[in-house]
């Protein structure tokens, strides 16, 4: 067993953390750990030296000074502990992101106490560099903190174990607690940077998904606007001397695209295909057209709007992954 493994096992045993925990996670007194910080140790050594000097030179005030500073240091242990105890943590939002941009996990911290919690820092236990700025929690309030974790692969990204830490008030004592909210973030494949343009099919080839919307369903009249095509002006009404009106047709001007795995060049690898499809979905969504997605074993009929975009990108993100959705 390597040292790192041993350390990990030791930490699991010591901090009693298994996998993700159900919300809300309450930081009871047994979950809070308190140790002097490096500065606290330095102060300890200083105080020891001061104590020895006081004994050696029989400095009564030296004793008093040493003990006073020691007393304050000790008090700060309790302050640090009190700063964390009885906080509750629940998972917050974690909106899907494209691979490469950081996954942002919202963490909700509830302070039910009638006192403020000061100088807290939250970070993934294994990646302390991703720490939040120090933040405070006002009495009886809930605040959201965001942990941004870099993404490298598509699919589900589970929120790693987090550390909530405080060195309040004097920086002498580090109090912390470890927990893992049950939270994950969907990572879409990164859209290809230089993808070929969106394959816009025309209606004659649009196939199975084309049912439901005729192109020429008359839908009503509306006020004429100068840009309207002359073909759609209600000329009969105009001829009668009425106002200019424009005929509206359901589905007028709509185009659609089928984004098909099989249509992609044969030499393209799986991730490259997903990446290109992701790019096309983003482009298609931006231009407002209807688009459908065909993957081996998956077909999403042409549609538009945020939920559809999400459904398509989700299909890409989880392509080839065992279906966890039912398991979760």
């Amino acid at each position: 067993m390597s040292l790192a493994q041993f350390r990990a096992r030791f930490q699991r045993w010591l901090f009693r953390v298994g996998g993700p925990e159900p919300a809300p996670i309450r930081l009871g007194q047994r979950r809070i750990f308190v140790l002097p910080s490096r500065f606290g140790l330095a102060l300890g050594i200083t105080l020891l030296a001061m104590l020895l000097a006081s004994i050696n030179y029989t400095l009564s005030l030296g004793f008093a000074l040493t003990f006073l500073i020691g007393g304050v240091a000790w008090i700060s242990i309790h302050h640090a502990f009190r700063n964390l105890v009885d906080l509750a943590i629940t998972p917050g939002r974690s909106d899907a992101v494209f691979c490469g941009s950081p996954a942002r996990f919202g963490i909700l911290l509830h302070n039910a106490a009638h006192r403020s919690r000061l100088g807290l820092v939250l970070f993934p236990t294994q990646a302390p560099t991703l720490r939040t700025h120090p933040f405070d929690l006002s009495p009886e309030s809930t605040a959201t903190q965001e942990i941004a974790i870099p993404t490298a692969t598509r699919g589900w990204l589970t929120l790693p174990r987090l550390t909530l830490e405080t060195r309040h008030p004097l920086g002498l004592i580090r109090a912390w607690s470890l927990f893992q909210p049950d939270q994950r973030c969907l990572v879409y494949p990164a859209p290809e940077a230089d993808a070929p343009p969106l394959p816009l099919g025309d209606d004659s080839r649009s196939g199975a998904g084309a049912q439901g919307r005729g192109r020429d369903d008359f839908a009503g009249l509306r006020h004429h606007q100068p840009a309207d095509s002359p073909r759609h002006v209600a000329w009969k009404a105009v001829a009668r001397g009425g106002p200019w009106r424009t005929k509206e047709f359901a589905g007028a001007g709509s185009r659609r695209a089928w984004l098909d795995w099989q249509q992609l060049p044969a030499g393209l690898g799986v991730e490259a295909r997903l990446s290109r499809l992701a790019r096309w979905i983003v482009d298609a969504d931006a231009s407002g057209i209807d688009y459908g997605l065909r993957l081996p074993g998956v077909e999403l009929r042409p549609a538009h709007g945020a939920p559809h975009r999400h459904a398509c990108l989700t299909a890409l993100a989880l392509f080839g992954a065992p279906d966890e959705r039912s398991a979760s």
Binding site: G92, R93, S94, T142, G242, S328
Partner: protein, 306 residues
């Protein structure tokens, strides 16, 4: 006494719609809060009857619009017809010009037709030919919708759902209620015999009483906490809008009035929350939950002092 009137209304409605007391109360609360109601259920569980009962009880002028796929906006709001004699367009008001409009099976119509009704609901007026025609006062829409997984329908888009104060499902009656229904009188006949419970001025008094229900600072705190939890919580992809917050308060006031209180309690908010927030919240993709469980999560996420 508005409180007594409110109570009697519930009793009478429950006599006709059996075993659905909670839904009836919510529907009444929706009306008292001056909001539109969306009833979502399979056909034949009494959606139409409920709308009828409400109209009769409240003494409102009633109009039913059966939505179909070939329906045009003009079929709802009315048409302007060129009058040869006067040499001008004349507006023929559509069926939407009624105090209580039952929009039956709204998801059968095209989005075009749907949005005509929804615009009228929002504006409380109809624009045609450059002229605006105010809708009657009060104006309520009770729309019914079949669950969207039925083929050949156009479910209302999310942005439009927000215009309904509440969404209700009636569900099947329980065994005893169904027995009473089967054994009892024909509901249609009962409905026909039902006298209007309210005198013309009384509905306005009820509205005023609803508005006057006290909302204290603690309750506002609670409502704000609910809104915040819906926006930050992991379970929700889409949080509640400020409009949803207003709707929640209005519905809670009506609910409190129906329960004989002069102030709103957290329980009132919790009682109306599934109906008010169920169709406005969207579950996060990470944790798909049905609407009722989603609302439950929201309620349980916000602690009350104690």
């Amino acid at each position: 006494m508005p409180i007594h009137i409110a109570r009697r209304l519930t009793e009478v409605a429950s006599r006709i719609i059996l075993g659905k007391e909670r839904a009836v109360r919510l529907a009444l609360a929706c009306v008292l809060a001056r909001g539109h109601l969306l009833i979502e259920d399979i056909p034949g569980v009494g959606k139409t009857t409920l709308a009828h009962v409400l109209a009769r009880l409240l003494g409102l002028q009633f109009q039913r619009i059966q939505f179909t796929s070939d329906m045009l906006p003009a079929d709802i709001v009315g048409v302007s017809v060129f009058d040869q004699r006067e040499g001008a367009f004349r507006f023929h008001p559509g069926p939407v010009f009624a105090q209580l409009v039952l929009a039956d099976e709204i998801n059968r119509a095209t989005p075009k037709a749907q949005s005509a009704l929804l615009e009228a609901m929002e504006e409380r007026q109809v624009s045609a030919e450059g002229t605006t025609w105010p809708l009657p006062e009060p104006f309520f829409v009770i729309a019914t919708q079949n669950p969207s997984d039925q083929i050949g329908t156009f479910p209302l888009p999310e942005s439009q759902l927000d215009r309904f104060l509440m969404r209700l499902s009636l569900g099947y009656p329980d065994r005893a209620a169904e027995r009473a229904l089967l054994a009892g009188e024909d509901r249609r006949e009962m409905l026909a015999r039902l006298p209007a419970e309210l005198q013309p001025g009384e509905l306005d008094a009820l509205f005023a009483a609803t508005r006057a229900v006290h909302v204290g600072p603690r309750l506002l705190d609670y409502v704000q906490n609910l809104l915040a939890a819906s926006r930050d919580g992991a379970n929700f992809a889409l949080g509640l809008s400020p409009r949803a917050g207003l709707a929640l308060l209005a519905a809670a006031r009506a609910w409190a009035l129906l329960h004989g209180r002069d102030h709103v309690q957290p329980e009132d908010v919790q009682a109306v929350l599934p109906a008010v927030a169920g169709h406005r919240l969207r579950a996060a993709e990470e944790m798909p939950l049905p609407p009722d469980r989603l609302v439950r999560r929201l309620i349980e996420a916000v602690a009350l002092p104690g």
